[in-house]
């Protein structure tokens, strides 16, 4: 028998980590670290980490890394890239970090068309500080400070950051992945690869990933994927929102999602997904 899937990504130093059971963030981490490795970029990659639960990987990720302050990662990434233009620079941020604390940083970085990649792990809550509402929490979502669900009249509407960035002329590639099932995880990894390729071609790229936070959502870990699909996933629609500067419609995204899900079912039935 042939090894088809390694236990952990090579660019991660330890198998063990401090994330909660059922957390979606390590699944996204696997995706971008394997994408970097497979594209042969591990010696050129420089990560700029935001502040969130995922920051605990800053000590165990085997690529050069700069720790930024809350929300500031895209601006730090801009500086790193301009000083070291041959490097592959990417941010790792949560929705609290990127969309609440530092919204203008990512907007301006995209608008300027900086040749960096911004990665957003979106779970609709401030996971690290206890699970309260963020700017991406969807209407009706129960969080620590919206116990009866987010109310549009009182809390306002969610910011669909991927859709917003796709409208900016400076953004070349914008995608929204998800880790609610194995097929989606594999598809999200391909989005990371296209994003890094876009950066190598000189454009700004953005990959948002919907990730489970059962702790912040007050639900059993096993219900995380279905809960996410029924809440965040219904509003923040998965798919490649903008490719080569062309923005796709929501209908096109839905069609593509149905087709991709069917393809993945067939692949699993035939015997496997390439990891």
């Amino acid at each position: 028998m042939k090894l088809v899937g390694q236990q952990k990504p090579e660019l991660l130093l330890t198998e063990t980590h401090h994330m909660c059971p059922g957390c979606g963030e390590p699944l996204a981490l696997r995706g971008y670290l394997e994408a970097i490795q497979e594209l042969g970029l591990s010696q050129r990659a420089i990560a700029v980490a935001g502040i969130g639960c995922y920051t605990s990987f800053s000590m165990t990720t085997d690529v050069d890394l700069v720790q930024a302050l809350h929300g500031r990662a895209p601006s730090v990434a801009t500086g790193v890239k301009r000083m070291l233009p041959d490097s592959i620079v990417f941010t790792v941020q949560g929705d609290g970090d990127m969309v609440n604390e530092g919204l203008q940083e990512v907007l301006h970085t995209a608008a300027r068309g900086e040749a960096v990649t911004c990665i957003l792990l979106n779970n609709g809550v401030f996971g690290e500080t206890g699970g309260h509402m963020t700017a991406t929490s969807v209407i009706g979502q129960r969080t620590k400070n919206t116990l009866d669900g987010r109310d549009a009249d009182y809390h306002g509407y969610p910011i669909l950051i991927g859709d917003l960035l796709a409208q900016l002329q400076g953004a070349a590639y914008v995608a929204r992945g998800s880790v609610h099932n194995a097929g989606a995880v594999a598809r999200t990894k391909r989005m990371f690869k296209r994003a890094f390729q876009t950066q190598m071609d000189g454009g700004f790229s953005f990959v948002e990933v919907l990730t489970m936070c059962p702790t912040g959502w007050f639900i059993p870990t096993s219900e995380g994927p279905d809960y996410m699909s029924a809440t965040l996933g219904e509003v923040h629609i998965m798919g490649e929102l903008k490719v080569d500067g062309v923005v796709k419609s929501t209908d096109e995204l839905h069609e593509e999602n149905v087709r991709k899900a069917a393809e993945m079912e067939q692949a699993l039935a035939r015997g496997g997904i390439d990891t």
Binding site: M1, E15, P26, P225, G271, G272, I273
Partner: protein, 82 residues
Amino acid sequence: MSTVKSKGTVTIAVETCKGCELCIPACPPAVLTMSSTVNHLGYHYPELADGCTGCAACLLICPDFVFEVFREARSPAAGAAT
């Protein structure tokens, strides 16, 4: 003796498992079940029965890097999704 042919197999690092159970419904032939005993962290962990296809769905959905997946070499025509 088993009558189910396994086209693949997995290793399960039970001590790093946090018992989230995401791998259980992810497994297409349903050959993973949670253990009745617990690991040193106090979590139940998955156990493998015969019939694994080596599809890697469990590895892709496991947040705690518990699985390693092996697959029988197949003819290229069978093709895996990329």
